[in-house]
């Protein structure tokens, strides 16, 4: 696998840089713990507005490999945030992580190019697997 851009910019080897967008601090913490143990670099945002700020900050526009986003959030909701991410950074893969076990919604998102629709509670292997798959997709886009 190609060395990720995150590693190139931050100077230390990680498997990739992931932005988690969720309004619940404990959910962000759980995702962070899971992904950091698997060697990823994790940044957090509590809503769509903060996510857009975070994604535009510093090196992030270049170093971000994956966005994991909830959809039920205050201010800018997940759907709007995801639309924005897709327009601004069409090559950054997005994973939806939500409490809604809704097939219709999942299909809608997948059609829009979301790489995975994960329903909480998600097993750590599944979360890590989805992130790893998304990063591979990101690498393919870079080629």
């Amino acid at each position: 696998m190609t060395e990720s851009t995150a590693a190139m910019f931050s100077g230390h080897a990680t498997n990739g840089r992931v932005l988690i967008v969720d309004d619940e601090p404990d959910v962000r913490k759980v995702v962070r713990m899971t992904l950091e143990k698997a060697g990823y670099d994790v940044i957090e945002a509590e809503d769509g507005e903060k996510a857009i700020q975070a994604i535009n900050q510093g090196e992030n526009p270049l170093t971000l490999d994956v966005v994991i986003s909830d959809i039920r959030m205050p201010k800018i909701n997940g759907v709007e945030a995801i639309n924005y991410f897709q327009q601004q950074w069409p090559r950054v893969p997005i994973i939806v992580l939500t409490g809604f076990p809704d097939m219709e919604m999942a299909t809608g998102f997948l059609k829009k190019g979301i790489v995975d629709y994960l329903v909480k509670p998600v097993e750590k292997e599944k979360l890590i697997g989805a992130v790893s798959k998304a990063i591979q997709q990101r690498e393919i886009h870079r080629l």
């Binding site: 309004d23 619940e24 404990d26 959910v27 913490k29 759980v30 713990m33 899971t34 959809i71 039920r72 959030m73 205050p74 201010k75 800018i76 909701n77 997940g78 759907v79 939500t98 409490g99 809604f100 076990p101 809704d102 919604m105 329903v119 909480k120 509670p121 998600v122 750590k124």
Partner: protein
């Protein structure tokens, strides 16, 4: 006999369980006007209900039955000798219903009340489909925290971190407990048929807890302007159901984004409640139909078409008023008016 209007004018004797049920039903019948209710027990529940509706009450039947525009006296006191005792004092045009006739009438009304309450319950449970994914969402979030942290804690060696995660697990479990309590409280059938003092603010807050499950998104601003201490005399579950129905519709109309404005105030002995959304609005051709039973614009399985019908039935029962105004693309406002308690 003078007949001032086309209504049937009725006096009820007995304001216990039977008299209250009769009064409650008569209040819903447009062709019937109750001119008074008597019971020797000043604390009888029917007297309180009548006072709320400005219907004359008395402990002595004779105070009420001598008026000259009474068509029917219904005796549900359980005292079979009463009609005969009162006969000399009643006007020739007044019929007195007692004995088995009034018992059959009472049973019919009991049956009607039972059917009505089953209809309310059916609509409430059918409406739960609307909330299912919202409830799942609100449970799945803390459940994820519990499962992931309980797993991580097994390998964690830092005692501060272990403690922090234990606190998070505890908080998440408590959130699930609250959700479970909120749902079961709403879902259960009305336990009590008693009229009690109902605090409008409390019922609105309870209703908000349920109605918020109706949306997948959480981008709704709630703007509350509520006067404290507004009380009506009603069955709490019915008032809760009115608010849950109206708030759920409002939240769904906004499709997860907008402002929900709730306002309550007391004016001239009445409690005024307004529920305003900034949603899609109701087309003018539908405004006349929204209170009809089984009228719905929601997809099959998403709405029973009984929500607003039940809202109107309940509001009418409490001698209240219900109005709606709506503009396409701007939103909808429902205005409710209930008589205050105490009624002065």
């Amino acid at each position: 006999m003078t007949v001032s209007d086309s209504h049937s004018h009725i006096i009820i004797l007995g304001a216990g369980k039977g008299g209250t049920a009769l009064l409650e039903s008569f209040l819903n019948l447009p062709g019937v006007r109750v001119l008074g209710i008597a019971d020797k027990n000043p604390a009888a529940p029917g007297l309180k209900l009548a006072q709320l509706h400005h219907i004359p009450t008395s402990q002595h039947p004779l105070d009420l039955i001598q008026k000259n525009d009474i068509h029917l006296i219904v005796n549900v006191t359980g005292d079979p000798t009463l009609p005969a005792l009162l006969q000399p004092y009643t006007n020739p045009g007044t019929e007195v219903l007692g004995g088995s006739a009034s018992k059959v009438l009472w049973e019919l009304i009991q049956h009607q009340i039972h059917v009505q309450s089953q209809l309310f319950q059916a609509e409430k449970l059918a409406g739960f489909g609307t909330f299912a994914s919202g409830i799942a969402h609100d449970i799945n979030n803390p459940l994820y925290v519990i499962l992931a942290m309980a797993e991580a804690i097994q390998e964690e060696t830092d005692i501060t971190e272990i403690r922090q995660q234990a606190v998070s697990i505890h908080e998440a479990a408590k959130r699930i407990q609250t959700i479970s309590q909120d749902i079961t409280q709403y879902a259960r059938a009305s336990r009590s048929q008693e009229f009690v003092q109902v605090h409008i603010d409390k019922q609105l807050n309870e209703a908000l807890k349920i109605a918020r499950f109706a949306t997948k998104f959480q981008d709704i601003t709630i703007d509350k302007h509520c006067q404290d201490g507004l009380v009506i005399y009603a069955k709490p579950e019915e008032i809760l159901q009115v608010f849950v129905n109206l708030l759920t519709n409002a939240i769904q109309a906004m499709e997860g984004k907008g402002t929900l404005t709730l306002s309550t105030e007391k004016q001239d002995g009445y409690v005024h409640v307004a529920i305003t959304d900034t949603g899609c609005g109701i087309p003018s051709e539908n405004l006349q139909k929204i209170f009809d039973p089984f009228f719905t614009t929601k997809a099959v399985g998403k709405g029973t078409g009984l929500g607003l019908y039940n809202v109107r039935t309940i509001v009418r029962k409490y001698q209240g008023e219900l109005e709606v105004e709506s503009a396409i693309g701007k939103g909808t406002k429902f205005r409710l008016v209930f008589p205050c308690f105490p009624s002065n």
